[in-house]
């Protein structure tokens, strides 16, 4: 790694430490439903059409917002609605209005299946500021296969075109890259550019939940490195702003495939309220990562007094991480890649980066 990058990462390391100490909440997930209209192969949550856990009543989540509002700047605290599929909630517009009235910008992650022009208009009128739409393949064959429903590719494409043509809405498209799509990236890129998309986030599917046993979902080290190389080249081209997801320290690819160096902000800037009221950080952090529950804890007290394992990551310096030269920059990878029961490292990105012939 060149010296300039090393200096940047060292400075950034200090910034991360400071931020962990300050732990200013500026991003709050709300898992507003576990219901979903698709059936994704890689889904992290156990979403089904009729989930066992009922949707949380809006009033319960608003109580949380009202307890944090005096302590944060609502205007700068992003609410990210996730699921399940947020559009399954019929009262989404009412929820949005309530957030808007309290001064919170809000956004949602969607598969786009239910996003009609009319619905988008209503959501925008309810203060929707940001939207992320999943798009996982060049053709229905690869997208619908991953998403588990025929017709989902077309609907997602329509939703993307709608969103890309909406002025003043922050958005991006995310693609979960897998063995079937790694060879399609160039063509997907051109398709997205054709739809007017400016921001594109690519991730790898992490080997958890339903993904664990499907060999087609996990990229090999070579494929993974190819994906990073593709992102790097795409950024250089400047036709669409591509970036890799938030996980993983990437060695020489740091600052080449993302806007900021690797920083797992779970519990540092990011909190969450999950469908059953659990208080956590990113929605994929469940089980032992759960810090409390809004039905018997005060969210703001929990945010201030708990989250120790998320803010002090020294416990991750075990196993391969103990001897790793990059530990100081990485601190044991993103927390969702450590087993929620025993803290074991599930995957190291740096290890997956291998020299590949330049194409």
């Amino acid at each position: 790694m060149n010296l300039k990058k090393q200096i940047t990462l060292s400075l950034y390391r200090q910034h991360k430490r400071n931020q962990a100490q300050l732990h200013e909440l500026n991003y709050l997930f709300w898992e507003c439903t576990l219901r979903c209209n698709l059936n994704c192969l890689h889904c992290g949550s156990d979403c089904t059409k009729e989930a066992a856990v009922q949707d949380m009543p809006l009033a319960d989540f608003l109580k949380v917002l009202d307890t944090i509002a005096p302590h944060v700047n609502p205007n700068k605290t992003m609410l990210a609605l996730t699921g399940g599929e947020p559009l399954m909630r019929k009262d989404l517009e009412i929820c949005g209005k309530a957030f808007y009235q309290r001064g919170f910008p809000w956004g949602m992650v969607t598969n786009g299946y239910g996003l009609t022009r009319e619905r988008l208009k209503n959501l925008l009128n309810s203060g929707l500021r940001s939207i992320t739409i999943s798009f996982d393949g060049l053709t229905p064959e690869t997208h619908d296969w991953l998403r588990g429903k025929a017709g989902s590719w077309e609907r997602a494409g329509n939703a993307i075109a709608l969103v890309a043509a909406t002025p003043n809405l922050v958005y991006d498209v995310v693609t979960c890259v897998n063995k079937r799509t790694i060879g399609e990236l160039e063509a997907i890129k051109n398709l997205l550019i054709g739809l007017g998309v400016k921001q594109w986030r690519l991730f790898r599917i992490f080997p958890k939940g339903r993904a664990e046993d499907n060999p087609l979902l996990n990229l090999s080290p070579e494929e993974f490195t190819r994906m990073l190389e593709f992102i790097k080249q795409t950024r250089k081209e400047g036709r669409i702003h591509a970036s890799f997801g938030c996980e993983g320290f990437l060695g020489d690819y740091e600052l080449e495939v993302r806007d900021t160096p690797f920083f797992c902000r779970a519990g540092i800037h990011i909190g969450s309220v999950l469908a059953d009221g659990s208080i956590s950080a990113c929605p994929s952090l469940r089980a032992d990562y759960i810090q409390g529950n809004i039905y018997h804890d005060d969210f703001w007290t929990v945010w201030n007094e708990r989250y120790q394992t998320l803010r002090d990551r020294s416990w991750t310096q075990t196993g391969v991480c103990a001897a790793c030269k990059s530990y100081k920059y990485c601190e044991g990878n993103g927390l969702h890649l450590r087993d929620e029961k025993d803290g074991r490292l599930l995957c190291c990105h740096l290890e997956m980066i291998i020299p590949i012939p330049q194409s």
């Binding site: 991006d172 996980e247 900021t260």
Partner: protein
Amino acid sequence: MQHFLSDLRLIVISIEKNMNIQWLKLFDKVIVALLGVAGLLMGCNIVFETPAEYGMPHADFVLKGTVTSAATSQPVKNIQVVRPFWEYGYGYEGGYAAIGDTVYTDENGKFAFEFDGLPTMKYQLKLKDIDGQENGGQFVSKEIEGEFTKADQEKKGNDRWYDGKFVKTRNVLLDWEDAVVPMYGVRPAPFQP
């Protein structure tokens, strides 16, 4: 002080749009008086920076630089750079109003201003990322101040009112807005009232 001044500037502009001339003139007097005080506090003469005619000392200035990302050391294009100043007779009769010279950094992150004015030697720049993520990330806005010094003088003055030409290079590093985009999350967006 800077916030106070930029607030004042906004007030002036909005009042300029909404009030009648009489009120504007009265308001302007108050503003000019306040600016005098503000200028004294800041150790510079902000009210009379750019006189309409030269019966006073004046000089030519070039203020240029490169905007670079603090983290990547890459030049940042399309950053809005505003040089605020006050000018006599702008927009309405007989008053002073805050206006700004605005440029945008080019592909190589470069910007430049050329202007003439009183040799008060102080300058202020306001930098803003106006295109979101498109120039390689969302950057935090920055305001900088500085002074031209004798060392920046490229052309000597005469023994009348002209003080010569000053050329200053002021490079600026911009920090990223800490954009949190966790997996399965949305890009943060500002609240819009």
